[in-house]
């Protein structure tokens, strides 16, 4: 369809205009092609960002938009940094990010390393393993609530079956001790395939001749793993870790549907706190300041991420 449109333009354009179109310099064309994207991002991302920065210095409340807006200076930022709840939320987030990344990296790398053995049917089973990460975290997170039901859920039943504890003796989502692990389990189930896929690319990028040389030098398999496999796959592992780190730092959908931050606030990661402040308490100014703080943190991480991307690309 696009092709046809182009032909029509080329044939039907009146002469003077056609000459003009022909006359577009490469530089002009470059801007013509790139500017719509930049403009859209400016309108939908950057303009709102500046609005949020402005709001973060005020006491504005979105549910009382007729009230006079007062300028508070840095008071919102000061309050956030001194707010006990915010620090607890940051700790909850850190706990979630740390354990999900540790588990996903260890399991993901092991799976990749096993798949790299190229047993028969490995391509098919790799595709099967990849399925969970393509699904909607919200819709799947919602369904895990069913699997975690204390009396009738499949998860509790299977745990009970293999360990012998009664299935109604523990509530994955209702208990203060277990709820943080409930979300870690679901996230690990969903995203281990992601780490696996990137690690697999890393393992496959190692040229054969290095192993051949090591074999000639009679390096043991153990030595080959630590001196060749792991260091050469490391940039890829780092890439996966950074990406998962950023994604889980801003985790919202899966946790919101699984626990909603509860019980109490034991699984209240930063994004959930932000949503509660912004859309339930309607402290728009305050939550904008919190949002800006999160922006800066993610932006820092993203900066590192892009550097890592370019490093992997150079190989």
């Amino acid at each position: 369809m696009l092709n046809r449109t182009a032909d029509n333009v080329a044939r039907a354009t009146p002469e003077p205009l056609a000459r003009k179109v022909r006359g577009i310099s490469d530089k002009g064309l470059a801007w013509l092609f790139i500017s719509p994207t930049i403009l859209l991002l400016l309108a939908i991302n950057i303009f709102p960002l500046f609005w949020a920065i402005y709001l973060s210095f005020t006491n504005y409340r979105a549910n009382r938009s007729n009230e006079v807006v007062k300028n508070l200076g840095f008071a919102n930022y000061q309050r956030i940094l001194g707010d006990q709840d915010v620090w607890i939320a940051m700790q909850t987030t850190a706990h979630f990010v740390f354990w999900t990344i540790l588990l996903q990296t260890v399991i993901g790398f092991t799976l990749a390393w096993l798949i790299d053995r190229k047993f028969r049917g490995h391509a098919f089973w790799t595709t099967v393993i990849l399925v969970p990460m393509m699904l909607s975290p919200a819709v799947v997170g919602n369904f895990w609530r069913f699997l975690y039901q204390p009396q009738t859920g499949l998860f509790n039943y299977l745990v009970a079956f293999f360990t012998g504890v009664p299935p109604s003796s523990f509530e994955m989502l209702g208990s203060v001790q277990l709820a943080p692990w409930a979300i870690i389990i679901v996230d690990t189930w969903m995203w281990t395939p992601y780490v696996m896929l990137i690690c697999l690319a890393g393992l496959r990028s190692i040229p054969e001749y290095i192993y051949e040389a090591a074999e000639v030098d009679r390096a043991s398999n153990w030595r080959q793993f630590w001196s060749i496999t792991l260091p050469m796959a490391l940039p890829f592992i780092m890439l996966a870790v950074l990406f998962r780190g950023i994604e889980n730092f801003k985790m919202f959908d899966m946790v919101n549907l699984l626990t909603g931050g509860g019980p109490g606030s034991t699984t209240e990661v930063a994004s959930i706190t932000l949503k509660r402040q912004a859309f339930e308490s309607w402290r728009t100014g305050y939550s904008s300041a919190f949002a800006i703080i999160l922006f800066v943190a993610v932006f820092g991480l993203a900066n590192i991420y892009v550097k890592a991307l370019n490093k992997v690309k150079q190989r």
Partner: protein
């Protein structure tokens, strides 16, 4: 434990291959149990779905699907008997529970919203992304690296943080709870992925093709339409599927910025409620219908998956 890798001169022994295969197959089977359980639950009756011990063998029923697409009201047996014969299977199933179908549920409109918003935003993101990617790939753009970083960084913003000012902006512009608003928003989120992915694909197309076309008298624009676009079809299709999956799966923006007319399926499915709590077979039925397109796309995409999830950085 043998640490021989597939790359070594000594190929992995048959035994180590077999062990690796067994572990991988076991992991794959365990990891799809939750999905099989969703599928199975969608064909259970509500009592079967919460039976203890969980039922692996059960009498299949499409009650979940009936409940997903309808709203029902409880009636007295006398009233139900006074009605004519049941029309269709759903009617019959529902009457056995002393209920009558009151009308269609909101699932179908929400599902259609998902389709419209996902396809609309994907088309826009891929269109803008193709143009930008070509621009970045073929021309010397000042500050190209900074612009590309800017484009990518917008993808990393926490959705809730973006949602606060977007909520206010959309309220001013009258875009709250409209498909247009959601399409614009998802386009902005997806365009970063589209630019990065497509730049990688277009970088791989040799410049010689266009140069030859331009020597033959094509303008730059014609060369772009006639030689670059046809060559980039695979890349464009893969990018489109990635954008589609993102928009299809997205929850945070949809939950905060839509409430009724433009609500998509992800925020709707968790709200499906029956008598006495969540109607799990109906939720499972909705989830199944919602997930099937993604399964199909995952299979179509499996060769490009790695590229898509790393913004084009890893290409094998």
């Amino acid at each position: 434990m043998s640490l021989t890798t597939a790359h070594s001169v000594v190929a992995p022994s048959a035994g180590s291959k077999r062990i690796a295969g067994a572990i991988i197959i076991a992991y794959a089977l365990i990891s799809i149990v939750p999905l099989l359980w969703i599928f199975a639950t969608s064909f259970k009756t509500p009592p079967d779905s919460i039976a203890y011990p969980p039922k692996i063998v059960f009498q299949p029923s499409i009650e979940g699907y009936c409940n997903l697409f309808t709203t029902r009201t409880r009636q007295t047996p006398e009233y139900i008997n006074s009605l004519g014969p049941a029309t269709g299977f759903c009617d019959e199933t529902v009457r056995k529970r002393n209920m009558v179908i009151a009308g269609p549920s909101n699932f179908l409109p929400r599902f259609l919203n998902s389709l419209i918003i996902a396809f609309g935003s994907t088309f826009c993101a891929v269109f803008l992304g193709t143009l930008s990617a070509y621009g970045f790939s073929r021309f010397k753009v000042p500050l190209a690296d900074d612009l590309l970083f800017f484009i990518l960084s917008t993808r990393f913003m926490p959705p809730i943080a973006v949602a606060i000012p977007i909520y206010l902006m959309y309220r001013e512009l009258g875009l709250s709870d409209t498909a247009l608003g959601m399409i614009l928003l998802y386009t902005a989120v997806n365009v970063s992925l589209a630019v990065w992915l497509l730049k990688g694909f277009i970088d791989e197309i040799p410049r010689e093709y266009e140069e030859a076309a331009m020597i033959d008298g094509y303008t730059r624009l014609q060369a772009f339409w006639r030689t670059v676009l046809p060559q980039a079809t695979t890349g464009i299709a893969a990018t489109a599927i990635f954008c589609l999956i993102f928009a299809w799966n997205e929850y945070a923006f949809a939950a905060l910025l839509t409430s009724g007319t433009a609500q998509t399926a992800p925020p709707f499915i968790p709200t499906i409620i029956g008598e006495g709590g969540q109607d799990w077979p109906a939720v499972a039925a909705g989830t199944t219908i919602f997930l099937v397109p993604i399964l199909v796309f995952t299979i179509l995409l499996r060769k490009q998956l790695l590229r898509g999830i790393t913004f084009g950085a890893v290409r094998k």
